[in-house]
Assembly symmetry: C2
Homo-oligomer: 326 residues x 2
């Protein structure tokens, strides 16, 4: 019996619906117990080397088979190969196999498609309740996370600095991109149910009941899917700022307010209305259609469309290398 490697593909499929950023989740069927898993997971499937020329094609295939959903924008996130992060052994031929999973981020404008059974759109604040700062700093941070992390750090300056930076404690500023860093910190501190579960599995024990605080810190997912989701959210939040990805979750026609609410839902922070408009309009990424949307509650808003053509002129932006003329 040899220990070989199996490649799994996982998809973080993001949409925005009613001002909430949502991710496609499902209750996977557990072959061992022949029941639905109590925990949600991301769509995932094995990569069959005979069947597919590329990962991306394989991903599109199994996602549509598993969820009834056709992917649009897709990008590779990261390849996860750590032993002991509850990546269960798969049975392959004669032996057991280590599962390596290649995570993908996918974006779609249509969160309302008909879906396969046991497949639901979940707001990601279910999994990361501390990530939504649109209504200000969440109480959970100072009331739940801060004391628990201080206990964990117990004076260690490195741990204190990490906690301070990640969760904007004691006057540090919030960086909405560090989603993974925050999740990993909670995992390390034993505040995610997954860490107790993984530790128990490594020692052959049964996983413990989650502590009360742990339960308040977002729902866990199967395997390392919450980690993959955190990677996807972080990547998406970062990319918002230098690539026009927000439009990938918008319908063909939208108002600037709707675009703003979408960006806010993803970034998890409130944006300045007037300046957001100007930033967007100045980029030439949108084109006014002259037509109005009357269902806004106040003055009707102009409808815009995304100018995909504009991608041609895109410079990189980002922190400057002061180049030299000519």
């Amino acid at each position: 019996m040899t220990l070989s490697v199996v490649i799994g593909l996982s998809a973080v499929i993001i949409a925005v619906r009613d001002g909430e950023a949502v991710v496609l989740t499902l209750r996977p069927h557990d072959a061992l117990t022949d029941r639905l898993s109590p925990l949600p997971g991301l769509p995932f499937g094995p990569f069959a080397p005979e069947g597919h020329r590329t990962f991306e094609l394989a991903l599109r295939d199994f996602v549509s088979a598993q969820t009834g959903f056709e992917l649009g924008y897709v990008e590779q996130l990261y390849t996860f190969g750590d032993k002991g992060r509850d990546a269960p052994r798969a049975e392959v031929g004669a032996g057991a196999a280590r599962v390596v999973s290649v995570g993908y981020l996918a974006l779609t404008p249509s969160a309302t498609e008909s879906l396969a059974r046991d497949t639901v759109w979940s707001s990601w604040s279910r999994f990361f309740p501390w990530e939504d700062w649109r209504k200000g700093r969440p109480d959970l941070i100072d009331e739940g996370i801060r004391p628990a992390l201080l206990t964990w750090a117990s004076g260690d300056p490195t741990r204190l600095a990490r906690a301070r930076l990640a969760f904007a404690l004691d006057g540090a500023s919030w960086n909405e991109e560090r989603v993974l860093e925050r999740y990993e910190l909670l995992y390390e501190a034993g505040l995610a149910p997954e860490s107790a579960r993984d530790a128990a599995r490594a020692e052959g024990r049964d996983p413990p009941e989650p502590a009360a605080l742990s339960a308040a810190l977002g729902e866990p997912m199967i395997s390392d899917h919450r980690r993959i989701l955190a990677t996807g959210l972080g990547r998406l939040r970062g990319k918002l700022k230098y690539r026009p990805v927000a439009f990938e979750v918008m319908p063909a026609e939208f108002t600037l307010s709707a675009l703003q609410r979408t960006v806010e839902a993803i970034a998890g922070i409130p944006l300045h209305k007037q300046n957001f408009r100007r930033v967007v309009e100045r980029t030439d990424l949108v084109q006014g259609l002259g037509r109005m949307d009357a269902d806004t509650g106040g003055r009707p808003a102009e409808l815009f469309r995304y100018r995909r053509e504009a991608l041609t002129a895109r410079p990189a932006s980002g922190l400057s290398l002061p180049g030299i003329r000519d």
Copy 2:
């Protein structure tokens, strides 16, 4: 005989030496012919699931075994799984296996360490001669690449637009980060020896002799290593602008001019001296040491050190989300 999957790890190890950005390459030993491969490759090795808890640990292990080199800064680049990009089948137990390779980027300040045999530092302009714009636009672009791409496009507007954008043709501006895009375009256009080789292999033919132009377009590498290298260079150039990665290839003490030459070597563009100094000094990432380096040829320059501590205060930069106060 089953077709299974083998994971390989590849490392793009970057240093800067005498004002040139260099990458660690080797001539791999070909088990079939029992000779050294005529083409250079990146350090790579199989990932043994029994032996290693994480990819990164495995990478550090086999790189030091293969090249005699200890890695410092390491980050995952991308996982390459396409069939037909000359990823040769590996023999595993009873069957053939598809090779999936996880590429890593590593940075090191010491390009002069003693190395294993057949391991050399190569300037990357050997592989991408069109990427060095420090002395202005390379002639190769207008004299070699442009006509060949125009022939390939033969009027197709999509192809023309891609070529124009990637290589800054006809007044388009150069974006130094699009290294992979440029290499992939040349590959698709049949201008990289690798594409003819891969096509021949797919059909069971012998690879053809590279055409004269193709030979001028940079040295090919084994397998898809030039593609991995392009991914690494692109990632590094992008990251320069928003993370203090340049310091990872600098010695402990350096002058601001040396730092500038390093950044120029990586980014492949000339920078404005006075403004570069100011940008660097304003970030608080460096600290003047009060001591001087006399070997500059002119007036002695102050030595600086990298303030790793400063990482704490890092804001995100990048294209702004106009946040709201408080």
